[in-house]
């Protein structure tokens, strides 16, 4: 019980620290402006007005969510080490594992808040636009698909947050941790496409067995972030299969657990002096 309270307290402090970063407000404001721009630009297209609007708005939701693992999370974690506030925290009856889990909880709350606000703004944008454009452009609109797509994007960022925490535990350099998180994101988004390309066996573009094996290993080692992307389904109001959502939920939870446990093991062995 005490452990949960400690984790919650650290999580809350990290969340509040994150909220103090002005960059978050800047990005949320920019995303809201981008969504307004989406309403205007979608009118330039012939028919797929909702698709354009949702492409732009849901991309803004994703980009804003990525702000936490790429910028806010890393600066907060490395800030604790560099400004030595971590000693004050660990001097309390707080274990290193509690610290890691608490930090993760704080970042998860921050990511959920940002992406939640922007998903709400997306729904308001589309709803508002339905008064601007003719009704028949909105026949494919599905608010449940928008909600599920954003939920899956949130899960993808939560997975990336756990990888970011692991990299922050592995290296003392915040720059290197950012690069490693970026690499995780890029590999996670592209590895499926690369495997699909290799499996095509295109003449003249043969891939060596070693590369094939490496890519296969990468698929299991790095999070398959592309699988969490349902933006196109949301843009066309297509149903998102429940079994896929459940499977991704299990996959995400399992991956986050592995990353955080590894992070705890590494952080426990790390010399903070």
């Amino acid at each position: 019980m005490n452990a949960l309270k400690t984790i919650w307290a650290i999580g809350l402090i990290s969340f509040q620290e994150g909220l103090r970063r002005r960059i978050i407000y800047g990005v949320v404001l920019a995303s809201l402006l981008f969504m307004s721009f989406a309403v205007l630009i979608s009118g330039l297209f012939m028919r797929d007005i909702v698709k354009i609007m949702l492409d732009l708005s849901l991309s803004a939701v994703s980009v804003s969510g990525l702000l936490v693992p790429f910028i806010v999370g890393i600066t907060l974690l490395s800030g604790d080490m560099e400004q030595r506030t971590i000693y004050t925290i660990l001097a309390q009856p707080v274990s290193r594992a509690h610290y890691i889990l608490g930090k993760y909880l704080g970042f998860a709350m921050l990511t959920s808040l940002i992406m939640g606000i922007l998903t709400g703004a997306t729904i308001v944008t589309v709803w508002g636009s339905s008064h601007l454009y003719a009704e028949h452009f909105f026949t494919s609109l599905s608010f449940s698909a928008i909600f599920l797509s954003s939920l899956m994007s949130l899960l993808a960022v939560l997975v990336l947050n756990s990888a970011m925490i692991l990299w922050c535990c592995v290296t003392t350099s915040s720059f290197l941790a950012t690069l490693l998180t970026l690499a995780t994101y890029l590999i996670g988004q592209t590895v499926e496409d690369i495997i699909r390309f290799i499996s095509l066996h295109i003449a003249g573009a043969e891939v060596s067995g070693l590369v094939q094996k490496t890519v296969q290993v990468a698929l299991y080692l790095f999070p398959n972030l592309a699988a969490f992307d349902f933006k196109q389904q949301a843009a066309y109001g297509l149903p998102i299969p429940l079994h896929e959502v459940i499977l991704l939920g299990i996959y995400g939870a399992a991956y986050i657990t592995v990353m955080l446990l590894l992070a705890i093991v590494i952080f426990n062995k790390r010399d903070l002096a």
Partner: protein
């Protein structure tokens, strides 16, 4: 800082900025027209992987660039060169590879290439992709039918597509009649009129509607003249000597104008054609876009 100096600096900077805006606008206007996005020339697999989770937005961007390029040419009344049309087609392949359910690129291809560049086979190839990506949508089959029937003049190949389209949910009721008449009646003009009416109903852009309506009026004029010729033949057991005999023979009160500025004339076969070939006289552009081979 003194107040007057502060005001002076602000006023001078604002004035300079205002002047720059005008100068920059003038420079921009002198620059060459919109060009193809360089992304179009990348291999499909690379652009797909590089778009990460933003494939939809990249497809939107590429399509917007393509529309602007074609729109500028339309405004300048400059025809796209063969190479430019081929690059446009490549761009559409890229866009539909990134987002196969994006309907606008298919519609854009259908209302552009066959009418202007005779790239009917390529348009059908693109539409076949839409048939797979949008299995419950009647429009891709309907467009392929139209292309085979109207442009390629192959009713045999066209018929299955109309039959497939007519069975789909949301397809207009008259499709069933059209599908039934396909094999017995060679009504190219009627097919064209029905097609254009359908597209106009779905078009929101005023400029695009205007363009399509002009084409529709010209087909309706041709249809009116051809049915008048048939009526004249029925009445007089011969074809009229020229188009004006339809007026003197009491079939028509006047010859409708060709919206493209041409003049209608009667062929020996009894078919009516126009000197405009249903297009404005266009300025040819130089074939100055690099090929991607």
């Amino acid at each position: 800082m003194k107040k007057w100096l502060f005001v002076l600096i602000i006023a001078a900077s604002a004035g300079t900025s205002w002047l720059c805006v005008h100068q920059l606008y003038a420079i921009q206007n002198k620059r060459p027209a919109e060009e193809f996005s360089r992304l179009v020339f990348l291999p499909n697999s690379l652009i797909r992987a590089g778009s990460l989770e933003f494939k939809g937005i990249v497809a939107d961007y590429l399509f917007l660039k393509l529309m602007v390029l074609h729109g500028e040419r339309l405004l300048d009344r400059k025809e796209l060169s063969k190479t430019e049309r081929q690059i446009s087609y490549k761009a559409l392949l890229q866009i539909t590879e990134l987002d196969p359910r994006f309907w606008d690129p298919y519609l854009f291809a259908e209302t552009t290439f066959p009418w202007e560049g005779e790239m009917v086979a390529e348009t059908n190839e693109l539409l076949e992709r839409a048939v797979l990506a949008l299995p419950n949508d009647y429009r891709p089959n309907y467009f392929i039918w139209f292309n085979y029937y109207y442009f390629i003049k192959d009713p045999k190949k066209a018929a299955p597509y109309m039959e497939k389209a007519s069975r789909m949910q949301g397809a207009p009721e008259y499709f069933k009649n059209l599908a039934a008449r396909m094999r017995v009646y060679s009504g190219e003009l009627q097919a064209g009129i029905v097609f254009l009416q359908q597209v106009i109903r779905e078009t929101s852009s005023a400029s695009e509607r205007e363009l399509l309506e002009k084409r529709l009026f010209s087909l309706q004029a041709l249809e009116l003249l051809e049915s008048a010729v048939r009526e004249f033949k029925k009445k007089n057991s011969r074809l009229p000597a020229d188009i004006n005999e339809l007026i003197t023979g009491g079939i028509l009160k006047k010859i409708p104008p060709d919206p493209y500025g041409g003049e209608f004339f009667l062929m020996e076969s009894g078919r009516v054609y126009t000197t405009s070939a249903l297009a404005h006289a266009k300025k040819k552009t130089e074939d100055n876009v690099p090929a991607n081979d």
